[in-house]
């Protein structure tokens, strides 16, 4: 930040690739200027100037002089001077950071007006005094609010009073005298709240507005937003100073917003709104009703045609949907802003497909224009809105999905009704850890407070449960079991529907329709035929291309033949994690109890012998569903006491039986066994390979079942490709011991070669991976446990208990169980990948934690160079897409571009 840095750029000096320095708004104003579009002249003060100001608390050296010079050029261009009473130059001062950010100061219009120049403005407007006083009134209001924190509603109330006095609700009915009186009222309000008069010096107005933009970078809401969206805290914002143009200079003036395509559906056409004789904030404030943009053709065909031309030019320049803000000043069109527009998930796919068709982008680029989060949204069932249900309220779409159920207002009641088979929506003001059981039981969660990072939102996303948070129109009265919205009362048991994507809340049961995209993946609808649904067709093309690009293979986590078959339809290229502990439940629980309670080797072996054929049958089913593709079977992992009744329950029933004088001998024996196996921290106890080494015959039985199942399938002409995975290994000696026994059994069963590898889920395994690779043909990263142990987080306990608070404090932006923590857990993954491969170059590397289906994490796994990710069947398409996107990102051409 030397004194000779350039802190101010004229619009003609910048371009769209300079957003880091000029902010998004400034960079795009420059781009449009250089495209020859009608942009009012102006200049941008850089983010670097802002950073320098925030670091030192004062304007950086040289900034004032640069602003002077650019202001002079602007005055020259417009032929007017700032503060000139007779012919004033007015400017807008607008914030514009790299990423748009609610909570920062945005815009002050009409800067440069004062008690004297208001007359000059009237003269400029052909003697329109009403316009001039209205403009002055607006300046005081915006300046007061955004620069000096004068409460906005006080100005609103004064305006309402003035309209009431005129017996109107339309501000156009106020005349010049009314507005002049209003200016007096506003100035008094300003003085009352700030302790000073409204500044009459035009340059002072501008300078104060610029500093206010700088300072607004650290406004509380902006800080919160940055934390939530993981935007770095040290970027700073740029400031745009632009010559004013007026949409409120009469019926041949107006202002509007437009999209180059429909941001909801992606369809091409004219989408936008226009408001005649108005300034931009009138559109936002909703004081008068806008008209569809198409109607502008009738009002001002020349401007309309010019606008369409500009929109087309912008699309072919930005190669994407753009949104724009424009103003028409007495028949002259001005472009005030453009940017690549936000869109729905469906529109993202459709537009990407269209742009390819139009030859504007190639398929690689189309893959980059969509993402896995959007694809995931499209795979949720959606509400069928064809009946056009009217939402009762709207909150934040905090966790996507469509949930229907009876409203309940407490967690115990929710759990009770759910146990009785009812579908419920848990409604609370806000949730806390006490509500967890109710949240688990409910179809969805609705709260009247909190945003995307509230307890309800964070926990629901972790559970994959639909959630609408912060629906602040709801008055929730949990004590009386009801909520009220504008007089409508919903009581416990009334059915409601909540849309976790849009945040909308409906009364009654809105019908739910399956996702077309899922039907496509299931093979129920085709994506490559004429007349296919445009979304399905776009998804088909993009997914096919992503598949052709990606270097990561995608497997699935599946424990049954049914899951395996579905995942295969969804594109899975094998099973990365087949958990065997689920095979010990149901009617086999009795055998497992015998196994655990066995007091002699014989009793234990009997139980194992009875389990063997059942396990073998499980594996046959899975190998058949995945014939020809690898199936990684994990030997049993969780602690055996999970197969016994809970200690507390059993202790109570024994105590009660004793109290009643009943015979409790059998229950007491069971209690003694459960107590013996009880662990303080079962996550860190006797599980995984430890079980296999301590309980003779357990792993041997499982390995035999795998080997015999493979031999059976092969015997029938199948091509089973089993891989045996040993869980929770922390030391190579553990793996060596299991491997030696397993190899003997596999050879004995005549099953051909079976590769044997290990989970890397204990930090020590990653730290000693060079040693472990000597005994492992593959590593599969168990990133769930690796996250639990690297952070010291028991997922069962901490997510509901305090993650919301951690996200609120900015300790992390997203739960490390949702998206892989690169710095900590990711470092372990890198260490193990690098050192494992150094020790054994043909080591196969995969990941089977839930991160395997998380978009951000998939990119990381691609960067590290894993061979595959594995995830739940529904996440397989998401992983495929993101693996393709990761490949584009790291392709040589992308790196060069």
């Amino acid at each position: 930040m030397a004194a000779n840095d350039v802190y101010v750029y004229d619009f003609a000096e910048g371009n769209k690739d300079m957003a880091d320095l000029l902010g998004g708004k400034g960079a795009n104003l420059s781009e449009m200027t250089n495209l020859g579009l009608p942009v009012p002249p102006g200049f941008t003060i850089t983010t670097e100037a802002c950073r320098a100001y925030l670091a030192t608390g004062r304007e950086p050296d040289g900034l004032r002089e640069e602003v002077d010079a650019h202001l002079r050029a602007l005055e020259e261009a417009r032929g007017k001077r700032l503060g000139d009473a007779a012919d004033p130059l007015l400017v807008s001062v607008r914030s514009g950071a790299r990423f748009s950010m609610p909570g920062m100061m945005e815009t002050v219009l009409n800067v440069g007006l004062n008690d004297a120049s208001v007359a000059g403005l009237a003269a400029q407007a052909g003697g329109d005094e009403r316009f001039a006083w209205d403009s002055y009134r607006r300046l005081i209001q915006m300046f007061g609010k955004t620069v000096c924190d004068v409460p906005s509603e006080e100005f609103e109330h004064a305006l309402d009073d003035a309209k009431r006095a005129r017996n109107t609700t339309n501000d156009l009915d106020l005349d010049a005298a009314d507005l002049r009186a209003l200016v007096d009222t506003y100035k008094k309000l300003f003085a009352k709240h700030t302790g000073r008069e409204f500044p009459q010096d035009a340059r002072e107005q501008m300078d104060l507005a610029i500093l206010a933009v700088f300072q607004s970078w650290n406004a509380e809401r902006a800080i919160l937003y940055r934390r939530q969206e993981r935007i770095p805290a040290d970027l700073g914002t740029a400031v745009n100073v632009v010559a004013m143009v007026f949409g409120n200079l009469g019926p041949d003036s107006g202002t509007g917003v437009a999209f180059t395509r429909d941001p909801a559906s992606g369809h091409q056409g004219i989408y936008g709104d226009y408001l005649a004789n108005a300034q931009g904030e009138d559109v936002v404030a909703g004081i008068r009703n806008t008209i569809p943009l198409q109607e502008l053709e009738r009002l001002d065909k020349r401007s309309y045609d010019e606008l369409l031309g500009i929109m087309s030019k912008l699309e072919s320049h930005y190669l994407d949907l753009c949104d724009i803000e424009f103003t028409i000043e007495q028949g002259k069109l001005w472009m005030l802003q453009t940017r690549v527009g936000k869109r729905t998930a469906a529109a993202a796919f459709i537009i990407a497909g269209q742009l390819v068709d139009e030859g504007l982008i190639d398929l690689d680029e189309a893959v980059m224009r969509v993402n896995g989060e959007q694809l995931g949204q499209l795979m949720f069932p959606r509400f069928d809105l064809s009946g056009d249900p009217k939402p009762l309220a709207r909150g934040v779409g905090a966790s996507p999905g469509a949930a229907v159920g009876k409203a309940v207002f407490g967690a115990p009641r929710a759990a009770e009704l759910a146990r009785a088979g009812e579908q419920v929506i848990l409604v609370r003001r806000e949730t806390n850890p006490d509500d967890l059981a109710g949240m688990i039981a409910a179809q969805g969660i609705l709260t009247s407070r909190g945003g995307k990072t509230s307890h309800a939102a964070v926990v629901a996303r972790g559970m994959g449960k639909t959630c609408v948070s912060g629906a602040d129109a709801l008055e929730v009265d949990t004590r009386n079991g009801k909520f009220t919205v504008d007089g409508t009362v919903i009581r416990e048991g009334d059915v409601i529907s909540i849309d976790g994507t849009t945040g909308k809340v409906y009364v009654g049961a809105v019908p739910v329709q399956p996702s077309e995209v899922v039907r496509y993946f299931e093979g129920d609808v085709a994506g490559d035929q004429e007349g296919a649904d445009p979304l399905v067709s776009a998804v088909h093309r993009i997914m096919s291309h992503a598949d052709s690009l990606r270097q990561l293979r995608v497997r699935t986590n599946a424990d049954t033949g049914q899951d395996a078959a579905r995942a295969r339809r969804f594109g899975a290229e094998g099973i990365g994690l087949c958990r065997t502990e689920h095979m010990f439940l149901g009617d086999r629980r009795e055998l497992v109890e015998r196994l655990i309670l066995a007091r002699t080797d014989g009793e234990r072996q009997d139980a194992l012998d009875a389990l063997l054929p059942l396990q073998r049958a499980d594996f046959v089913e899975i190998f058949e569903a995945m014939d020809g593709l690898p199936v990684t079977v994990r030997l049993i992992d969780p602690p055996l006491h999970e197969f016994l009744p809970p200690l507390e329950e059993l202790a109570v029933s024994v105590a009660v039986a004793r109290e009643r004088g009943e015979d409790a001998a059998k229950a007491e024996a069971l209690l003694a066994a459960v107590r013996r196996m009880h662990e303080q921290n079962p996550m860190l106890g006797l599980r995984g390979v430890r079980l296999g080494l301590v309980i003779p015959g357990l792993f041997a039985m499982q390995v035999r079942a795998i080997a015999e199942a493979a031999a059976e399938c092969a015997g029938r002409g199948g091509n089973p490709l089993p891989e045996i995975m040993v869980p929770l290994v922390g030391a190579v000696q553990e793996l060596e011991t299991v491997r030696a026994e397993a190899e003997r059994i596999v050879a004995d069963a005549g099953a051909g070669a079976v590769s044997i590898g290990t989970m890397i889920e204990v930090p020590r395994a990653a730290l000693t991976s060079g040693q472990i690779a000597e005994a492992a043909e593959f590593f599969s990263f168990g990133t769930n446990d690796l996250t639990q142990m690297a952070w010291g987080f028991s997922r069962d306990d901490v997510e509901g208990a305090f993650f919301w608070r951690y996200i609120e404090l900015g300790i992390f932006g997203i739960s490390p169980f949702e998206s892989l923590d690169r710095d900590g857990v990711g470092r372990l993954v890198r260490i193990a990948a690098d050192e494992g491969r150094a020790a054994r170059p043909d080591l196969k590397l995969g990941v089977c934690g839930e991160h395997g289906g998380d978009p951000e994490s998939v990119h990381f796994f691609h960067e590290v160079g894993l061979d595959y990710v594995s995830c739940s069947p529904f996440r397989v398409p998401i992983a495929r897409l993101e693996a393709g996107r990761a490949a584009v990102e790291t392709a040589p051409s992308a790196a060069a571009g």
Copy 2:
């Protein structure tokens, strides 16, 4: 292992530094040969030959030719030939690995005798036929047993039969005819068990013996021993082939063992035993009574004087206590073995001091001649054996200490009696995880089975509890509550005494005396005065020198003024870990319950306000005890639910109260709270910094108490040096948040500068230590939790449940909670130390886990370059000594040497 490797060394070719290649025995035989001592000629086959044999299953190429050549040289030197019937050369074949190792084959004497050459041997011995047949008898017995696994007792029985027939118990009473008949019997036994005749080819005898030594490397007991002692499995053993000399050639012959000093007390003098007219194994077998070595002077003054000269020469050559084996053959002294001798802990210190006094070694070397484990043994109270109690039995000294108590035979009974205030010794055949409660309750544990790595031994050492294991003379009858040794019956309630150092078991209460060494550290006896106890004097000199050498500072873990004061007397240079959670117990529990159950901010703050003055008083006491030395206070760490009643107990009492129709409202409210706070894995739950961030005011109260206590002490002229340590940090943002608040409070309390740092106990903290160091003035490694999380071991659960099995399987040689796991946990420590210091060069680094007092681990912390270790008060002297030893080890001169 190329064909041109040298596999055989003549004794004249080796030296004592070649033990890796020649084994300990061979290297020392070479050394003595080159010192000009009378060693019978011979050669050593290297460990490399053994390794080659074990890897391929056959003799390595070239070995046979080398053995041929060396055998020829040996024949030449002795003027006799192996297998020559008229004048046979006899040799011994002896194993000799790098480390002596029970379970391996040891020695076959008289190799080369057969039916023909026995007459030649008689002729060599001046016609002594008895001697010749006795030698042949011994060969068949030893060869049969060690080379061919013929059960030894069958030979013993035959010998006994022969003696019985002569009506004697002394084998010298058997004449030549008896022994000749015995040879016939032995040969039949040999044939019966091996299916072949005893080999008559002398060279075949020798070759078979050599291969048997090779193979014995992998004998089961040897493998087990190596695992226990952490000796690498791939070293292999050397084989020594030595010309026979005979101690059984008449009254002017004999054999003996000697030490150059008393290995029990360290006192200088002649210590040893001699047996005339005998071979070495007769001494071991105890067939006849030995005489004290001093009496040899009377029998054979010339040999005696020569022996004393050799012993003196060996001591000044080896600069240490040596033990030796020798044989006198018809008045000619031969040295058969020497090595640096084992000694008791007390002798180690005394001898080291003596050697310094004698100018043989310097103080640096004296520090290396002792170790922390020995010092630890000297700090346990010991039995006062002045009453010369006779041990009832002897087992393995599995966990040191002296314990006295009533024998009990079941864990529940042990716990019951302990609750009633009784001191008990738990006696079991062997223990298993079900016995844990009883082990905790008992003063000591005594088992009749298992060695140093049995469940009992491993768990007891982990608890620091006295244990004697494998006392196999005990017949333990738990059902009837008694054990029997040779007819003596000990029943439940009878008092016994067990010595965990010597493994001895006594009937009745043997008086226990405090350790003189502890009295010295306490300042009760002086170490630097004339006439001081020689042990105390030696400890004093060595400790003082270790202190002058060490670079690591030694602090203590202490939570009270009393502990702090004692640790300071023991040499602690500050407190490395002051746990504050203990301050929340006792009569403060009620306040803590209020804190936890608070439903409003006000209720919570009231509880905190009441705790503040109590905490402040705690800190004042500690700061005064450690005035002028740093005191690291850890903010509260364990989960708050630990301060509430256990869930299961509470649930039972509520259920029972309901069943009885009693009012349980209060208990139910408490139960609800306990259930709300219940965690699946509290170790990984809401604790440490997480509590501080979630419960408003908790950390603030503690920081205020610390700051105000410091201000109070300083106000009285003291010099308190508090350091605030934040536990369980995994991300720098956690520490930043706590630091910001703490700095405000410290400034507010006017306490001067207080340094703020963090535990490194979560793997992620180590992995992101560069970031964390930006916000920390010190790191303290919490190696207990770091071990728990890096391995995924809940110490409470796994040590008793399966560590014994892991040690048995060789997965680790010692619990990673006892001695730091260098490869895994140690790697995290290195990462954090290196990257922390890179980010903040003046970062202070310490360790406060229990490894801070473990000898092996202290060396590691020294190598990593930490500033200090912290350990329990009793371990402070051990850490001081080991820190000094580590400094010597890494000193430049040592590195060069």
